[in-house]
Amino acid sequence: MMTIVLTALQYLGYILIFPGFLFCFVIGMLLCGIDRKIVARMQKRVGPPVLQPFYDFFKLCGKETIIPAAASKTTFLAAPLVGLAALVVLQLFIPIHGFSAFSGMADIIVILYLLLIPAMAAMLGGAASGSPYAGIGLSREMVTIIACELPLVMVLLAVGKVVGGDAVTFSFSKIANYQLANGSLITHASLIPAAIAMLLIIPGETGNHPFDTAEAETEICEGLLAEYSGAPLAVYKLTHCVKVLTLTSFFAALFLGGIGTGIVVVDALILVAICIVLTIVSISFVHAITARLKIEQVFKFYWTTVTGLALISLVLAWYGL
């Protein structure tokens, strides 16, 4: 009896504290804060404090939540919560070096689909607000997702091929074990284009500059979020931050596995360090040096350049190079 309670508490701890909510909340916010700071420094500005996302979050929690008369209240309020919860659960599936809370439950293809749920929740929430701007934001978000999906799939297939050899695999634990035995996959020559493609996919999936057409504040008034205010908006902002963490740690698990000590706390710190570096490279640098693209340019970029990179990797991996 005692052991059952303890196990339940342990799993509850996984979900709520590490690597669940609290970890996602703190580290996700931190990543975004660092991102804003780095962008500011690259533009020769002082930049907001690193803790700025926390301030934003708590401020929004204290604001009034207005439900527009045209909105469907339940969907409008539930959508952000579902999106956040789904994303945190997704984070639980991603292994941290040897440690994995629940990573035996879903493989990389499942994760690919679970990534759609937060986006889907945001789209339904936006649609439920009834705003015409949300309608446009929704369509752009959707096209961005279509754009990102093809190269992302190719990257995953290439990884599966390299790890599995003839017995291709989608299994996360196999990928992790392979990297423990043979070193990080990024050292594998055929996967370097895939890693670059994945780095370019991260800002698209998180909706960061220059692929933030769906939430373009100057042209379509924040798109999907146009009618959100107060606490639901805070949850959306948090979801965005967690998404940055999820995607960077997904990258780390795919390409930078095998770096670690075996002590969970140290490994988690290493993961955080890797995530910070990845955020700076894939989000901040790109943000600071580009202007926002148009939606058809986003699509074209992903289906030509990024897909091309991923395809090179896939073909190289296929022929065992």
Binding site: R45, G47, P49, Y55, K59, E217, L225, A226
Partner: protein, 146 residues
């Protein structure tokens, strides 16, 4: 504790929504220059938003023309509480050189309570930042009173 945290955060993360009520564009450019590397208001947490639903501070420029008045009031009403209204430049305060024109309905304070006036034609960025920081303090007080 959370109440305190939220109050502190309210002062540190003011998001702006800018309404042009018939401005000559001078103040608009000055407002943008506040966010440039030289003055960098983002270090204080300021951020321009695209919709009034996200805003804490509404910055109104221009003499409030008859055409724009209902739209200005509508947009201001859509900002969630606590909110702060800042007029920028002399126009929304007095009408400036447009005072007495048949098409000017201002000053803005006739219609909504204005919290901070930043005078000047156009005000210097330093003055704008000063006014906005004052507005954040008012925001914090409003939040505390709630």
């Amino acid at each position: 504790m959370f109440k305190k945290l939220i109050e502190e955060s309210t002062a540190k993360s003011p998001w702006l929504f800018h309404i042009n009520a018939g401005s000559c564009n001078g103040c608009d450019i000055e407002l943008v220059s506040v966010l440039t590397p030289r003055y960098d208001a983002e270090r204080l947490g300021f951020k321009l938003t695209g919709t009034p639903r996200h805003a804490d501070i509404v910055v109104v420029t221009g003499p409030v023309t008859k055409q724009s008045l209902p739209r200005v009031l509508r947009a201001i009403s859509q900002v969630p509480e606590p909110r702060c209204i800042v007029t920028m430049g002399s126009c929304p305060q007095s009408g400036n050189v447009f005072r007495g024109s048949y098409s000017v309905a201002g000053p803005l304070s006739k219609y909504v309570p204005v919290d901070v006036d930043v005078a000047g034609c156009a005000p210097k960025p330093e003055a704008v930042i000063d006014g906005l920081v004052l507005a954040t303090q008012i925001l914090k007080e409003k939040r505390a009173k709630k």
